[in-house]
Symmetry: none
Subunit: 214 residues, 4 copies
DNA sequence: GGGTAACCGAGACGGTACGTCTAGTCTTTAA
DNA sequence: TTAAAGACTAGACGTACCGTCTCGGTTACCC
């Protein structure tokens, strides 16, 4: 189960032009204000309750958080990155999974967790981030790196383990397996989000995993 | 069978406030200029080769088509509607399917056609329209009404016929069947569009239909 | 006393490009609709009660008069002309003067009539037409020809007669005399219109004529 | 003596909602760019050589001055204010008068200065601003406050002083005196601007002041 | 404890696009 | 032929944000 991490603004170093400096490490100067950081993330989450990612503007965040626009641009490359961070910063969004007894169960648990995550307001926001990523390369990288790739890698790992263990059909291309497992969830999220309900969460994962079983 | 319906600017009546008038029938005034209409659609398609739907602006279309902005706003409610029309106006985008010998084949043909349609530049555009629809209600209505609903309705019809004919599992909720059939395609479109290739088009439809077979 | 007339849309011949046709006189086709003409003038006067000449638009007139824009453009060269016509069409705007017993009295009567005319809503409109004329050559011609020149010519005539009769200073340039007589009225109209009241009407003409007396 | 007052954008504080703040003194944020301000005024003056105030557009100023439209709207409430500022910013437009030896001379000097100011292109512009003021309340306030009121107040002061000193007729209402003195100048400006020439400048002030003399 | 470096807020900057409005022209059918 | 209706191109309006910049001022570390 790879744990790639990704963008996510953990380290308090401003976004760089990727011009590699060898050991710039000597942190001088005023350190990053955690107060501002939190205010920004909080304001973002708050605003997203009333508007879409597309409607959300950096200016609105800055105003709501009582923060200079520069402060936002210093630490995040674009709106997608801020929203992504704000999403992740929510408590309980990253709950660890219990240890599964086999790969079938692992997949079921992962899909269940995914559906839970996509339910409600967060689901809308994620759908909108996914949308932003369609046209904007930078947004694409952040969304993939922070959210999508880790998710899919974890599932792919389980699929491959399951194939080794003969739980799943060996003939199936793992990429195809991922599309079969996750595609319906995201498609429903984007086309009929209201149907991403409890019933779906209870029936779909079992149904889906059956499709790739040996 | 399919439920065509939807937006689509066929009739040359300007967008209305939906305040129903009883028989306004006598067409007075200068009729709509087909020249302008075509110039707008052509310009839109042309611009979409170099930019995303999001980057595309009404002003750019108007300029390229040598048309007043008012003319665009008179006939289309928003950008999504223009792009949707432009997409559909392309020759060969709406080819009829040959008569299938059973519902399994019908589904396969429909999926094959869908994948073909989503390949290349049009696929990108459609993904972007789908994205626009995530946040914007008006865009959502136009995209659903013009593109998504007709498509899904046709597939749903085939699924239900197939269930009656015992070709497909009767226990499967038709909505779920649609998600299983179409979800992977759209998911791949949006997450790894390069993989929406010929190989996928040849393998996926058969694989997918197998999943819902009795 | 010149009788210049001017623009004024009396004859029902559309505005021409002044490319003289010799005897086009055989009036064919549908005749001009007096109904439309009246509706246009009435609508114009009505709208001018609530807005300035500058705010008034041809579109608004056409809409209010339930008339095509083309109909307006066919008969009047621009907004100024329409407004000018509308103003003149008002009943009682063109009352003839009684015969004066000398030129001093003639001037007084003329100034009194002018002040009366510039009082109230019509005064505002005339000030606005005068304003329109400042930047727009066509408007200038219409305003001068229809309103200003006839007025000033009449006064100039009285001044010159009065000079011949030794009622007024012979040394005074007639143009200067006109400025001295009319300037204060128009200046007050444009700078303090509220002061163009009855008191002013009663005191000013006598005062003014005194200034040019021998 | 004179009541300068008025709009005029001297202090670099953006136009406010007039909600009085008590001592906002600590100037935060990036200071106003004098470069942009000058570019805007210069561009305005430059454009006014070729077009009227009415034809002039904010967009054209912005384009010519290589400045964002927002920058103009941030500092001036409307076109009239920009033009007024541009006019005043011209070197030599505000030359101080030499000390007069009596009020008669003071009036003559003031009228002479006024006629000089209204000669040529600036005269046209001022006539157009006066015109703008006829219909638009905001324009009216700016034109009066910045140009007309200071001018008339100064003359009124001289008139009243002259009346006290028995140079001028005491029976004359000062407002009437102003109309008599200034009316002809502005009337000529607006009706026959070409006649606002040197000859007029030399003869009129003396003639005018004679009319109000005791 | 003074210097210095990076941070912070505020907000002005040059731009782009929005959706609306009006000008003046053009094109149809009906009278 | 004119009238009405209304479509047409063109372009200004004032607003909203973008991402950058420029201020005065505020921490921290390092000498």
């Amino acid at each position: 189960m790879t744990q790639p991490a990704a963008y996510i603004n953990d380290e308090d170093t401003p976004k760089q032009d990727s011009t590699l400096k060898v050991v710039p490490n000597t942190k001088k100067g005023r350190p990053r204000s955690t107060k501002s950081k939190n205010a920004i993330l909080k304001a973002t989450n708050s605003l997203l309750l009333h508007m879409s990612v597309q409607e959300l503007s950096i200016e609105a965040i800055a105003k709501k958080a009582k923060v200079g626009k520069t402060t936002i641009y210093r630490w995040w490359p674009n709106k997608t990155a801020v929203v992504m961070d704000a999403l992740i910063s929510q408590p309980g969004i990253q709950s660890p999974l219990p240890t599964p007894k086999n790969n079938t169960e692992a997949i079921i648990m992962q899909l269940d967790k995914l559906i839970r995550m996509l339910d409600g307001n967060n689901g809308e926001t994620i759908a909108q981030l996914f949308s932003e990523a369609q046209a904007d390369e930078k947004a694409q990288k952040i969304f993939s790196g922070t959210f999508l790739t880790p998710l899919l890698d974890a599932i792919e790992f389980s699929v491959q383990e399951g194939q080794k263990a003969r739980e799943f059909r060996g003939s199936l291309d793992p990429k195809m397996a991922i599309d079969l497992l996750c595609g319906p969830i995201f498609f429903r999220l984007m086309s009929r989000p209201a149907d991403l309900n409890e019933e779906f969460r209870e029936t779909y994962p079992k149904e889906a995993v059956r499709l790739i079983s040996a």
